[in-house]
Amino acid sequence: MMNKPFDYFAPKSISEAVSLLKKHGSGAKLIAGGQSLVPLMNLGLAAPRQIIDLTHIKKDSLSYVKLDKDSLMIGSMTTHSAVENSPQIRRHCRILSETAMTIADVQVRNRGTIGGSVCHADPAGDYLAPLVAVDAEFRAINPKRKVRTISADKFFVDIFTTALKRDELLTEIRVPKRPSTRNGSAYVKHKYVEGGFAIVGAAAVVSVNKDGICDRAKVVLSGVSTRPVRVDMIEKEFRGENLDERAIEEAGRIVREAVHDPLSDIHASADYRREMAVVFAKRALRLALARSRKTGAQHN
């Protein structure tokens, strides 16, 4: 199988890119690092009529990591390697660096981008769960230069489907900054082979007060369903609780209930996915909790 013929565009600016998107409509596809789209095209599963290549847009307009008072801002064309190695991300949103580190292999991480990955919205994609867990926001721009902000909860709609409109381009992902103490997060992943997709990816974010009592505990899972599974009960149930091993076991039970109709494929059955969702949710919670309790250390 080879690619179907397509027209190729290499816009130099964001506005040129969104104009092209508008002009060509549903047959057009943006390409960033190409690590998801190109395999699909090679398999004949995607056959865009126009390819709009974002890699020629001035580098620092879509590939950056910045900080302001409240947020960490990551340009959509930032590569997984850059996410993995950025000191700001490591300091202010460790879970994202940790996630990037688990993606595929070095070659893929050097080319693939965070924006490309989230817009592809593969249910087993690694960023989905952690971005929902840290309350990320997605900023998109349209041809009228109107900027729209979408919460991570709303962004991932279904398998390979996001809330982006046809003529919108994702420009930035924003993550609220958290105090550097008494916050912990973790992403743990169960994959069927080294470098493979997640059977289950579990992201946990935990905040504790100075007495070690839980202010916030959130678990989000990817790989188990067509979109990230946000385990709301955990957020509600554990506020004001002491998160001991008994509570974590309880969290496992809540996760089991929350996973409806899990995905099934040749690598893992639905039952196994549900069971692993529980196991990895608990592992993520334990790790996040341990990190939140390491006072003074930069472990959120």
């Binding site: 080879m2 398999l43 169960h190 069927y192 082979v193 080294e194 493979g196 690598h267 059955s269 196991v279």
Partner: protein
């Protein structure tokens, strides 16, 4: 320095590790594979393939495709004039022949089967036009499940066959019934050896170029068997073999799947003759997974008549092999090899085997590294473990009780092989020492006390290789007038590293430096004949043909040198690039000088032919039977079922060694492939016969990240079957690693008292065993 010391320090290359001569080429990307070759005026072929596993082909309409720019022709089977069918077996009571046209014309029998060939000016034009070839199919019921296929009410793959039975065979030796009557216990074992893919890094590829002036067809093919493929392709094309030259350039892995001829090889060759231009086709990875042969694919059943002390009195096995869509010589032969090696390293007097080979609407199964012997080792070595567990015997003990004793070699097995040589007790002992087996067991006990599921697996393997008496291999040696040495090797390499060991043999015989030696291969115009590189044949057969050719060259050069030096019947030494009488301290003549003399009819002994070229077709006295012991330690994570390999020890005996580093490399690669089958590899079809594992994201193979250090050691028990005393090592790792990992995992799970019935050991499956729902 005394004379004795001089003799001892003589540089002997055979037996020493030498870096592979071809590696700089490969690691620097300078290899030349099929896809690197471009000929002027070359057209590109693409194949229209069946989307159905089983269907009637009603109509093929290429008119739209032919209107596309760049498209030159579309050939269906009707347009392949005057050619024969693909080879199958003779129709006999035991086997069903399957007449198969090169391109499917009436019926397709697996998803991906080629129905038409399209030729275009570029690869893109060819691929783009493919979907414009309209093929009308009438879908038929696909046959997928082996057990269901054997039932009378099953749909049939071939209407003309009485059933889905491709091949049936029963064999009995010794008093089987008596053995089972005497047994204290009968242990029954059911195993699945799943279908997997050989998966060479370089997929298949072929270029054909027809020269009408000379009526000569030159074919470049990614193959393990240049002469064999020349003969087969010429036969199907109905042209004399003399009118076909076949060249195998660098071949990026074969593992058995490139030892067969495929429809594409014939169709592309025909196309070049048809249009009078060179034609190229290179398989995509999807086509590779979909249409290149698969391997293993057996359901295995064993019954063992066992005495309380662990002695096996009798063995009955039943193999249900998945032939795929067609009967071929190999898919009959491979399960037969499983039966022939079914008793392994054990002295089992009473043996019975029954083989059913079953048609399915899937790709035909043929040879994958080990071809029949990994399946045999899996069956007997898993069985031994299961028996040991039942009798509460250590896996070491049960093997020691049943081994063929050292003094019984040559040993005639019940299936009719004569094992050449062996010292199974000695090899096992060494393996126990180098792995510190007792310490491993102590570590395991400690781990278990902490609740960890740690297991130890042990396998004592044997295989048959060095095929075969009567099926030889060739080599020739040329010494040029300038004294350069050219080895023309019959066995073609596809990654094994033939060149260096062959050069080592010659360097020792002729006393020249390795840098003076060039190794060439893979062109039917170079040698009168050669045979396939498979079955760990190259060291025993090609190596011996090279050795014997070198000895002939040496003999002739000795005579020329003696003639020049005016010596009679002198025994000449070949060392350090010189040829000299023993004891003259290395004066004599230079190697180059003698080579130069050989080309001058005036300067050689009267009656001798000038030039230096010697050829040998070597046929061995027997097969060879290398053996060994592999030991692995694994840990299963209870919560997830994830298997982690902690330690791996391979202690192999392949007789004498030519280049230990090359041998160790072969073991490493083989072990990795064997682990792949045990842990993650599996070809999966759905019930409609659609391949679900058609990409490398779904057909997963091991990577360095998931592996462990392989600690390799050896014992050396020479064979009499060839003058080098070598046995071959190409398949050993693949044979041993699969059962050793499964044995280890079963041992790790012993607190749950479960039997591992199938592979791969995906965490999902292992977890289900722990939960008792497996």
């Amino acid at each position: 320095m005394s004379a004795v010391q001089v003799a001892v320090t003589r540089k002997q290359l055979v037996g020493t590790s030498q870096k592979r001569m071809e590696d700089p080429k490969f690691v620097s990307g300078s290899g030349r594979y099929i896809d690197d070759i471009k000929l002027p005026g070359m057209l590109y072929a693409a194949f229209v393939r069946s989307p159905h596993a089983h269907a009637r082909v009603l109509k093929i309409d290429a008119s739209k495709a032919l209107k596309q720019p760049g498209v030159k022709a579309v050939l269906t089977n009707d347009e392949l004039k005057g050619i024969k069918n693909m080879p199958t077996v003779e129709d006999e009571p035991e086997t069903v022949a399957t007449p198969r046209p090169v391109l499917a014309s009436k019926e397709v029998n697996y998803a991906g089967e080629a129905v038409a060939l399209l030729l275009a000016e570029s690869k893109y034009a060819a691929e783009d036009a493919l979907e414009l070839v309209e093929v009308e199919y009438e879908p038929l019921d696909p046959v997928h499940d082996l057990e269901a296929a054997m039932k009378a009410e099953s749909a049939k793959v071939h209407d003309y066959a009485p059933s889905n039975l491709s091949y049936h065979f029963v064999y009995e030796n010794g008093d089987v019934e008596g053995a089972f009557r005497q047994a204290d216990e009968v242990v029954k074992v059911d195993l699945v050896n799943q279908r997997i893919h050989p998966l060479p890094l370089e997929p298949r590829g072929v270029i054909a170029s027809y020269d009408s002036g000379n009526d000569l067809l030159t074919i470049w093919l990614s193959t393990q068997d240049p002469h064999g493929m020349r003969n087969s392709i010429a036969d199907v094309l109905n042209v004399p073999a003399a009118k076909v030259r076949l060249i195998a350039p660098d071949v990026g892995g074969g593992f058995g799947c490139k030892g067969s001829m495929y429809p594409e090889d014939v169709a592309v060759s025909y196309a070049s003759m048809h249009v009078g231009r060179p034609v190229k086709w290179v398989e995509s990875r999807r086509e590779n997974l979909l249409t290149t042969i698969h391997g293993r694919g057996q359901k295995q059943h064993a019954e063992l008549a066992v005495r309380r002390d662990g002695r096996i009195l009798g063995l009955k096995i039943k193999i249900v092999s998945d032939a795929g869509a067609y009967t071929t010589g190999l898919n009959v032969e491979i399960p037969k090899l499983t039966y022939k090696m079914g008793t392994g390293v054990y002295d089992i007097g009473a043996y019975m085997a029954e083989i059913f080979s079953i048609f399915t609407n899937e790709v035909p199964q043929e040879a994958y590294r080990g071809a029949g012997r990994p399946e045999a080792a899996y069956l007997i070595e898993r069985s031994m473990n299961i028996v040991a567990r039942k009798l509460r015997l250590d896996p070491v003990k049960i093997r020691q009780v049943n081994f063929i004793a050292k003094d019984k070699f040559p040993f005639r097995t019940p299936s009719g092989y004569t094992y050449d040589s062996g010292d199974y007790h000695g090899n096992l002992q060494k393996a126990l020492e180098v792995s510190s087996y007792e310490r491993l067991k102590a570590e395991q006990r400690e781990a278990r006390e902490l609740g960890r599921l740690v297991g130890i697996g042990l396998v004592t393997w044997v295989e048959v290789c060095g095929f075969a008496p009567g099926f030889g291999q060739t080599a020739a040696i040329t010494v040029t007038k300038t004294g350069d040495v050219i080895i023309t090797a019959g066995g073609h390499p596809h990654g094994q590293g033939h060149a260096t060991p062959l050069a080592q043999i010659v360097a020792d015989e002729l006393g020249v430096d390795l840098s003076k030696i060039t190794v060439v291969h893979g062109d039917t115009s170079m040698l009168p004949w050669s045979s396939v590189t498979a079955g760990s044949r190259s060291a025993p057969l090609t190596g011996s043909a090279v050795l014997l050719s070198a000895r002939k060259v040496r003999d002739k050069m000795s005579k020329i040198a003696a003639h020049k030096l005016g010596l009679k019947d002198a025994k000449l030494a070949f060392e350090g690039g010189k040829i000299f009488p023993n004891g003259d301290g290395g004066k004599g003549l230079t190697f180059e000088k003698v080579a130069d003399l050989a080309y001058d009819g005036e300067k050689i002994p009267p009656g001798m032919e000038p030039t230096l070229f010697e050829y040998t077709a070597f046929s061995p006295a027997n097969y060879t039977f290398p053996f060994g012991t592999h030991i692995a330690m694994v840990e299963v994570e209870k919560e997830t079922g994830v298997v982690k390999i902690l330690k791996y020890f391979a202690t192999d005996d392949c007789g004498k060694l030519i280049n230990p580093m090359v041998v160790e490399g072969q073991v490493h690669g083989g072990v990795v492939q064997g682990i792949g089958q045990a842990m993650i590899e599996e070809i999966v079809y759905d019930d409609n016969g659609q391949l679900l594992t058609s990409t490398l994201a779904d057909y997963v193979i091991p990577s360095a990240e998931s592996l462990v250090e392989i600690v390799w050691n050896r014992t050396e028990t020479p064979t009499y079957a060839n003058p080098l005393g070598v046995k071959g090592i190409g398949e050993a790792g693949t044979i041993a690693a699969t059962p050793v990992i499964v044995n280890a995992v079963e041992d790790a799970l012993s607190p749950y008292d479960v039997t591992v019935e199938r592979m791969p050991l995906r965490s999902d499956y292992v977890r289900s065993l722990i939960k008792g729902s497996g």
